[in-house]
């Protein structure tokens, strides 16, 4: 069964049904599971795709492709744009959407394996914790040990962001992600909730942004660790800054301790090192993820160096 609602009012997701935007996550899972749930395809909803700006910020329709986010917000929201433009592949960015990115399911290899069951697929354990978790979390905060998949969620943590749902209600990023303690869910939307749009505060004047992911190959690989930063720099001194790290916990993490070090400072090697070190505070790696402590340090260092270079 498939439905094509044409307005937000007519969206009704039946029990067991799923909504679909670009399909770049859903189609893969449907094939792997040989599943045929009722699909509510949002691509025909009036106003679902597209970006509009106003003095209080930008409204990004949930069905806006990641390629459009990367291209159109390049000047106003560089951190969000660069991070979005660096994920997945050109083909996936051209069709995958911002709403789908925020609500995609975890890439944990146990979760995605049809022979395995875990908290997230209706089971009652985490086989990754006792098994293999090479790509797992380094801030261990709940029962699930696979990092949150969304690069865009990490970037949006750095902004005042409001999610607007199809029924007109709204949610903050914290309300979407929670604290990562519930191992059964990737996000806290209720069944049938649909993200209609993402509202983001205006960029700062002369805002700079930088992003980096640590991977083993050239690109198009899920990050081992990723980091994003946005900043306003006055006369070489950081006036405002927001920094977040992904690939490290069941939710992306805003790094406020590091921000406190950065703000009112110049981006010297010393400041960068201190900020990067601050990002590893509280890390409690799993048996196989000790290396991610080093990588948090490395990734934040490189991200801040790129921020510095962005101003030159």
């Amino acid at each position: 069964m498939i439905q094509f609602p044409d307005s937000y009012d007519t969206i009704e997701v039946p029990a067991g049904g799923v909504v679909r935007s670009g399909g770049t996550d859903l189609q893969q899972r449907l094939r792997a599971e040989n599943a045929r749930p009722t699909i509510v395809d949002l691509t025909g909803v009036d106003g679902f795709a597209g970006i509009s700006s106003s003095p209080d910020g930008v409204r990004i329709g949930g069905g806006t492709t990641m390629a459009a986010v990367a291209a159109e917000l390049d000047a106003s929201h560089p951190a969000l744009a660069i991070a979005t433009g660096s994920l997945a592949t050109p083909q996936v960015r051209a069709y995958g959407t911002i709403a789908g990115n925020l609500t995609q399911h975890t890439r944990c290899w146990y979760y995605r394996h049809p022979e395995m069951s875990c908290f997230k697929s209706g089971g009652d354990s985490c086989p990754a914790r006792t098994g293999r978790h090479l790509y797992g979390v380094v801030f261990d905060r709940g029962e699930c040990v696979h990092p949150h998949p969304s690069t865009i969620a990490m970037a949006l943590l750095c902004y005042e962001t409001t999610l607007i749902l199809a029924d007109g209600s709204s949610k903050t990023m914290d309300e979407l992600l929670g604290d990562g303690n519930d191992p059964t869910r990737d996000h806290l939307l209720a069944d049938g909730d649909v993200i209609a749009a993402v509202h983001v505060e205006p960029g700062w004047t002369d805002e700079r942004g930088a992003y980096f992911r640590s991977i083993s190959r050239f690109e198009a690989e899920w990050p081992l660790v990723e980091a994003v930063v946005r900043a306003r720099v006055d006369d070489g001194v950081i006036a405002e800054v927001a920094l977040a790290v992904g690939g490290v916990a069941t939710v992306p993490l805003r790094m406020t301790a590091a921000e406190a070090i950065l703000v009112s400072s110049e981006l010297t090697d010393e400041t960068i090192a201190a900020a990067a070190a601050a990002c590893t505070e509280g890390a409690n790696p799993l048996p196989e993820t000790g290396y991610k402590v080093d990588l948090v340090l490395a990734t934040v260092t490189e991200t801040l160096e790129r921020l510095r270079a962005a101003g030159e």
């Binding site: 399909g23 189609q27 190959r217």
Partner: protein
């Protein structure tokens, strides 16, 4: 169901959809446009790429409903008015392909890139980084990346805007247009789709299998009804659609009595470990991981071996012991580990069988051993010769995983026999990355004793192959063949476990021995303060490799290399060398016929071309004799049946050396008979048989269709890396590959093979790693995101050099290269990392986590 309108390649279509389909399935199955391939089904490889309103999309992740009211362009519609797109011509002319399975996706995407580039930049040439960035959504397992770079750059320059461009391969056009039909593309009318039911658990005994609805069910188990690894085939079922077949498989009632199992090699060696093979009889059923015959060996629990290969072995051990006790400067003692590597051919194992007419069995199958498989299948199913045809026209890669009769073949044929309908059985990527074989992992202890002035005094290697449920994967024995005749001892064992079976993989044992041996040599040179090339020169009795050392030592990248461990910055550059050694094999029973058919030359036998270029080798050989353009020669291989002439298996690097000179001989015979005026010679033909070599010495070993010839082929690889010591990432910057395989027949294609070998070696060195769940034995890396193969952007600048003398005793003066070219690349990368950082990476793959730990 919904009906949507769409335009595909300029033609309007109405599609009936239920909404779950992905675009790639509808394009292939409803529209019959099979140029678009399904490989990873996960958005990683790009083989399914089509343009939607001019923007490339991955068909596997694009809902079919998204094609509504759109203009879709597939590879079949890429050109205009029957003319090819310049990118297609460039891929043909610059050989941006081998097996061709990834090619449609690449050209469909590259076409949009080139058009956009030329709009924005005219006919300037983009750099490699720009091309890699644009095509980051594509992978090529054959590693045709150098050709792809060349092709895309040339198309951007406008080289192929008007001119036709000549294909380097005789089947290049079929591959860039999507016309090439692979087994997975064969959709007979009324065919059933079949799937294999696999064991979800690592060990157990399977009860009777029954199903209420599976009218088409075959049992695939042996009489003992044991399963020994998670993913092992149990049965196969067929139904009108794949979705129904998969549902049937899921609903099948299969009772498995679980048995104790063991996954980890150390656990497997424990005295109380459950036995993978519980009895003598059971041991006899263990699959052979090697291409060669099975050497007898003793078992102790799950350990099979050790099998010693000694030469003054006791003396070797004594010298090692002495050197160790004295703490000798030239004593190298190192432990190495390699990971399980998966072939991951882009066309999965696939068979389509049609036995609807009881008097005629037709089989399409993706195999690198067509003639062999055709005979085995005829035997197995009791089909009289003349009543079976087996076709393997285009093969999307094999790399050793498609050398024998596999369950997809027997299951599809048996299901077709019962159903009296054609049956398709195409494995999924998850199955392909779990259960179709692998290069076994290994653990090696090396002791090497080198005197202060650089003599090799002794060498002892202990190797354990992690063969899963297979046995017989010796590799340290190969290490004894390379350097001189000083005392040495190699001991090879297999550790069996309830893990997927090891199989031959391009140069079986080769990269594995080289990872240990070549790094130990490098370490010895370092310890005694000698140049690693000079040290090898002292020991190496192979004069062809000596010539390659001369070549390597003159490379600027080698002479400019830094002193080991002297760098301090974040990015550290290093250069490493490693050499490779391989056997020369030939199929003396190879027959080739050259005939005149429809006024044209036709060359044929029952070999196959999996991207290695055999079609082109045959065509060029015949064209050379008749002095006609290669395009004037038709090639008919990939068919075994009543009229077939014996063709070699593409394994053991034997194909080219077997077919090339035989084709020349047959062509010369025909020419002697009919002259060059083919007009009056319709129907004339001549056949030649390869036979052994004109050699002074007898050939040492022969078994069915395989002879070990005289001489060793040789390779030397010099790799340059840049290590980011902050993030633990290694980038291979350049590789020089020197090969002594005599005259390379079809030189450009030979170069492409050598380049692909280097890229697969980089995969082995840095990324590739099958990972199992330790508690269940389930393969976790069963997709192309988690099983990481090299990307276009990981390709170093590659230079290939051939040293041609030394093979004059071989007809045609050249031998195979598919395997010798794969032995040393990974080891040379390991040595380069050592040179760069002073840290020797002994465990594969050298991932960021390992390197960071090593550098800490």
């Amino acid at each position: 169901m919904v009906a949507i309108q769409t335009t595909v390649n300029g033609e309007a279509h109405e599609l009936q959809l239920d909404g779950h389909e992905s675009a790639v399935d509808v394009i292939r199955e409803q529209l019959g446009l099979t140029g678009t391939k399904l490989v990873c089904a996960g958005g990683v490889c790009g083989a399914c790429t089509v343009q939607i309103d001019g923007t490339p999309a991955v068909g596997c992740l694009t809902p079919a409903t998204a094609l509504r009211d759109r203009e879709v362009t597939t590879v079949e519609g890429l050109g205009t008015d029957g003319d090819l797109h310049p990118v297609q011509r460039a891929f043909m002319a610059h050989d941006g392909l081998q097996c061709g399975y990834c090619t449609p996706g690449f050209v469909v995407d590259a076409a949009t890139f080139v058009d956009r580039w030329q709009r924005e930049h005219g006919t300037s040439e983009p750099d490699r980084h720009t091309i890699a960035d644009a095509l980051a959504g594509h992978l090529c397992r054959c590693g045709a990346y150098e050709g792809i770079y060349r092709a895309v750059a040339a198309a951007c320059r406008g080289d192929f805007a008007s001119e036709t461009g000549v294909s380097l391969r005789v089947d290049g056009r079929a591959k860039v247009t999507g016309d090439a039909v692979y087994t997975a593309d064969v959709y007979p009318d009324d065919a059933l789709e079949a799937v294999i039911v696999r064991s979800p658990i690592a060990a157990g005994t399977v009860g009777p299998i029954s199903s209420d609805s599976a009218e088409h069910l075959v049992d695939l188990l042996d009489d003992d009804r044991r399963v020994r690894y998670a993913g092992q085939p149990i049965a196969a079922v067929a139904a009108p659609t794949l979705i129904e077949a998969r549902q049937l498989a899921a609903d099948l009632s299969v009772r498995i009595e679980p048995a104790p199992f063991v996954i980890d090699p150390d656990d497997a060696l424990a005295s109380d470990a459950p036995l993978v093979y519980e009895s003598r009889a059971a041991k006899k059923t263990a699959p052979n991981a090697a291409e060669g015959p099975m050497a007898p060996a003793r078992w102790q629990g799950n350990l099979r071996g050790p099998n010693p290969t000694p030469w003054l072995g006791t003396l070797a051990k004594r010298r090692v012991k002495k050197a160790r006790s004295q703490g000798a400067k030239g004593h190298v003692a190192l432990h190495f580990e390699t990971a399980v590597q998966l072939h991951s051919s882009f066309e999965p194992h696939a068979t389509v069988a049609d036995w609807s007419d009881p008097d005629r069995l037709r089989v399409w199958t993706s195999t690198q051993a067509l003639d062999h498989v055709a005979h085995e299948l005829a035997d197995h199913f009791g089909v009289e010769p003349g009543k079976i045809d087996v076709v393997s026209d285009f093969i999307g890669g094999g790399f050793g995983s498609k050398l024998s009769v596999t369950p997809d073949m027997t299951a599809a044929i048996e299901l077709s026999r019962r159903a009296r309908k054609p049956v398709r059985l195409v494995l999924s990527r998850a199955e392909e990355l779990t259960a179709t074989g692998n290069r076994p992992g290994s653990r090696t202890d090396v002791d090497m004793v080198v005197s202060d002035d650089g003599d090799l005094d002794a060498m002892v290697l202990d190797g354990q192959s992690l063969t899963g449920v297979s046995i017989n994967s010796p590799y340290t024995a190969l290490a004894t063949l390379v350097y001189g005749r000083s005392p040495r001892l190699a001991r090879d064992s297999d550790i069996v476990a309830n893990a997927p079976p090891g199989t031959p993989f391009r140069g079986p044992g080769g990269p594995t021995y080289a990872w240990a041996l070549e790094q130990s040599v490098d370490q010895a040179a370092h310890q005694i303060g000698m140049d690693p090339i000079d040290l090898r020169r002292r020991w190496d009795g192979n004069d062809k490799r000596q010539a390659l050392y001369d070549w390597a030592s003159n490379l600027p990248v080698w002479s400019d290399r830094p002193a080991t461990g002297t760098q301090t910055g974040r990015y550290q550059r290093g250069v490493g060398i490693a050499s490779g050694n391989w056997l020369y094999m030939v199929d003396p029973d190879t027959e080739v016929e050259v005939s005149v058919c429809h006024g044209r030359l036709l060359v044929r036998n029952a070999t196959q071309d999996m991207g290695t270029g055999s079609k082109t080798v045959l065509a060029r050989a015949v064209a050379g004799v008749f002095d006609v353009p290669v395009a004037d020669v038709d090639v008919e291989i990939g068919r075994a049946g009543s009229r077939a002439l014996h063709g070699p298996t593409s394994g053991g690097s034997r194909t080219t050396a077997s077919i090339h000179s035989t084709a020349i001989e047959a062509a010369e015979k025909l020419k002697a008979e009919v002259g060059v005026d083919l007009g009056s010679a319709e129907g004339a033909s001549a056949t030649a048989t390869r036979g052994g070599d004109h050699s002074m010495r007898p050939v040492p070993i022969t078994f069915a269709n395989l002879q070990l010839g005289r001489g060793f082929s040789a390779a030397v690889h010099v790799s340059e890396v840049e290590v980011d010591t902050l993030t633990g990432k290694t980038r291979v910057v350049s590789v020089h590959g020197g090969l002594a395989i005599g005259v390379p027949h079809a030189r450009e294609l030979a170069i492409s093979q050598c380049e692909g070998s280097i890229i697969q070696g980089i995969g082995l060195a840095l990324y590739e790693n099958q990972i199992l769940d330790p508690h269940s034995g389930v393969t976790l890396t069963s997709n192309l995101e988690d099983y990481r193969i090299p990307q276009l952007g990981d390709t170093p600048e590659i230079t290939i050099h051939f040293h041609e003398p030394g093979w004059e005793h071989v007809p045609g003066g050249g031998v195979g290269l598919g395997e010798v070219a794969t032995i040393s690349p990974a080891a040379s990368v390991g040595n380069a990392i050592f040179n760069a950082t002073g840290h020797r990476p002994t465990t594969l793959p050298v991932r960021p986590d390992r390197l960071l730990e090593g550098l800490r």
